[in-house]
Symmetry: C3
Subunit: 369 residues, 3 copies
């Protein structure tokens, strides 16, 4: 498989928002690491050396001024040189991206219909979750996924969500941002008893307001949300005529506690890239389920900010670094008019890079020509 063929394959598969999951499987799971590494090489403009030894003889570059090297340390290439080792670690991280890990969170959950009621089942359970390659960590999940499965409904739908608790402590589910009837609001001892281990609870409601919302635990929540009891609850408006038409609809859920700095339940290099064809528009729905702010910066392009917490902004506004605070959701439109592999990361740099290379809240938006 040549890199050209690989990227062609990506483009072919990126035709509908839903097919993104197929792409991710292809990139992150179906590929061997060397092949995955070529994704970036093919999209970039350099052909970086692929072995550690090659670092003493960097790839030629039109803009690299070798005349300046002369007697500089770079020419000596002593084994064990600290900066060379650092570069090797950085390179290895990038080359392994997007890295293969077990498990994909946020998979679309199809409802079972009971008359006109959309029925969803969520089971709270512990699993081992591979946040980064070879580093499985205990996670408390909905249906074994981190984030929990994406629930996507339409404003006005009647929805029934049956939550079964297979954890060894009580829980409850709050639909964050949905203007619930009070008794469905998911706050133990205020609106319901906690769902004790082994029990179930049924949330049923007519969905009142559109937008990018979330569902998550509201019992012992500092621990339970940290451990993974969270997911996206997307409500499409009944009238979509005012929505920007987009080719892809991406959800980015951030977290920063029990599993490190994560993007949809994975840390770099296991984050899964966003992709688009040149000229396409995409929607990104940022959601913060952590304890810290994350100012998300996208290289080479800009955001048009169109909604906050599911409510349209009265006038969309543009930026390239969007501060997402805990509990917030921000919808942005990106017009993908600049081709390339664009770094996409939290700009609290310590959430994104260490002396060992990039990690955590780092990803890429790949715009294919």
């Amino acid at each position: 498989m040549t890199s050209h063929k690989l990227t062609d394959t990506i483009v072919e598969k990126v035709t509908t928002p839903r097919s993104r999951r197929d792409i991710l499987k292809t990139l992150g799971i179906g590929l061997t690491l060397p092949a995955a590494a070529t994704v970036l090489a093919a999209c970039g403009n350099q052909a970086p050396a692929t072995s550690a030894q090659a670092s003493a003889a960097p790839a030629a570059s039109a803009s690299m001024d070798h005349a300046a090297m002369s007697a500089a340390p770079a020419a000596t290439a002593a084994a064990g040189n600290a900066w060379e080792e650092m570069d090797r670690m950085h390179e290895a991280g990038i080359k392994s991206f997007p890295a293969k890990t077990e498990g994909l969170g946020g998979q679309l959950l199809e409802p079972r219909m009971d008359g006109n009621v959309k029925v969803y089942e969520l089971t709270c359970k512990k699993v081992m979750w591979e946040v980064t390659p070879g580093k499985p960590l205990e996670a408390w999940t909905y249906n074994g996924q981190l984030p929990g499965p994406e629930i996507r409904v339409t404003q006005g739908d009647t929805v029934r969500i049956v939550v079964k608790n297979e954890l060894d402590e009580s829980t409850a589910v709050h639909f964050h941002g949905v203007k619930m009837p009070n008794k469905m609001d998911g706050v133990p001892f205020i609106t319901q008893p906690p769902i004790r281990p082994g029990e179930s609870f049924t949330y049923e409601f007519v969905v009142p307001n559109a937008g990018s919302h979330m569902y998550h635990s509201h019992h012992n929540s500092t621990k339970q949300v940290s451990m993974g009891l969270l997911g996206a609850f997307i409500v499409e408006p009944q009238d979509t005529s005012k929505e920007t038409k987009v080719e892809h609809d991406y959800i980015v859920i951030l977290n920063d506690t029990a599993h490190g700095y994560t993007w949809n339940g994975k840390g770099f290099p296991a984050t899964q890239p966003l992709t688009a064809k040149l000229g396409e528009k995409i929607r990104i729905r940022f959601m913060n389920e952590g304890m810290m702010i994350h100012p998300m910066h996208l290289h080479g392009l800009s955001y048009l900010v169109v909604a906050k917490d599911g409510y349209p902004q009265p006038q969309p506004w543009e930026c390239d670094t969007l501060n997402v605070a805990p509990g917030e959701r921000w919808d942005v439109i990106v017009t993908c008019d600049n081709p390339g592999v664009w770094a996409f990361h939290c700009h609290i740099l310590s959430h994104a890079e260490s002396e060992h290379g990039m990690f955590g809240m780092v990803n890429a938006l790949i715009v294919e020509e």
Copy 2:
């Protein structure tokens, strides 16, 4: 006193913004704990058990699926079971809300008139302040209150504020957000000498700009503001025709240092709930006197954000989670069109809940039918 009568009483008392203080006294100070606990039971849709022993036999609920319990841990109810103990602590916290504590901060300070000058006296002094029940902590206060008394004036008023320092260190008062004549700006060694122990200083000015402002120490401020030298300075506009008409005007001052995570000087369960009748509009003025951001999330309703730091936003915008940074003030309007007891808290979850239950920056907005 039945719970029905209690909530009726609340509704009767909630008729003007100013009467809120009477309500709070009733809820937080005038009631015995068991009666206070019924506030929530009456407004909620469950009748949770009220004794610890009852937790092994949860209240029946139409939506609770007991069939699922069978052989689950919940059925065993072993004494000392960790999760049951955790639930009991959570329940006890909720049931004690709104808890009785000594002292109510932010009480409206009525001026003495000297001709056309509104004269206010603020005395800086140390007191013991009951942040949560049974946990008095040293506080440095204006007039023995935390927050200091609310000062509410009208744009164009001539105001004289006499500050007496009974602390054992110097201080000074900065009117944060007010476009002061420079010599009244309250910055020691730049605009005035510090007010030394035992001394007084008089701030006198014509109030230039409307909005939600604050007054607080600007000397050794990291310590002094943390310890409690802060209050709300509200300036009503001369022309109120553009203001949204509201039935209640609530001030929410956040702090996060010497007294833990506090909401108007109290931590949950001693925070005092906001109340409204179904259909009413309320204004909430968020103010952050702490060192951290606090993204304030309200369940079941939404905010219309109308002003930042006292300046009207050019176009109000809607959200349900508003990030309030240190020094910021945000005014929002809530249309109380969804009845119930709505959790209202900082969405940095570690500021709101631990394994011991809810604490800190947690409160409720009670919308009465």
Copy 3:
């Protein structure tokens, strides 16, 4: 030199944005400390005592109520009294502002023209940088300055930036906010090889988008940006007819790691004041290169927020405390209609003041009558 003459001199020198640097040299480097101290005394309305001994006999003030002192601690003035010592430290800090330190960052870099190409040279190198008086710290800089030199170009310009790496580790430069051709984006192993010690790399591009942008390291960035590899990249729009006309254009780059809390590479009292004449408008371009938010508060005036990350806000809005998150840039206009020396600082108070006095992210805007 009388203080009156000094402030007159300031006013005379403040005539164009570019001359600001002359002012700063005058204030911070050209003056002896006693003379610098009079800057504040002249603009304020008090004549604070200037020696430590004088603190037991505070300057008379119309608004200081000495009758209240009586037997209070202030009257005793015991040597070694803790609060008096604290006041002395606070006073000394203020009096030394703006303090003289070696080195001025952010100096405008004039390009060399190669045909129609503007050529800039940036050399990455370590220097000792005097962040506060007498406290030089190692800094990793562009051209020996912290922040690196200001690069100011016009939209549509062809720009060539030759980066030479004299550090002992690799680096790369990312032009944060500029919609680059991908291969010029500065992300090692994605868009280019790292620039190894002793090597150079040339970035060449047509500047696509206007606004307040930054350049900084994108390799081992948590360390390298912390250590100082950062600077402002300002792109003037081709059509300036929609820009607010301002008399001064100030850049405020915040950082919060290796050198403490800094404002353009200096900590108070070595920060250099902004100046304006009464009635002038100024632009301030806030940029955050740190790891924390900094809600920047200006006393006595207000901001009109006109741009985010270089993009005009659809409707400017007003505030006095602006939360600047890492990676963000905010442009504000201040109409200097209130004379005096206005404190200007981060409102996370622990970034601005300790029991030893003001430090870190503290500065002043001096509005001269």
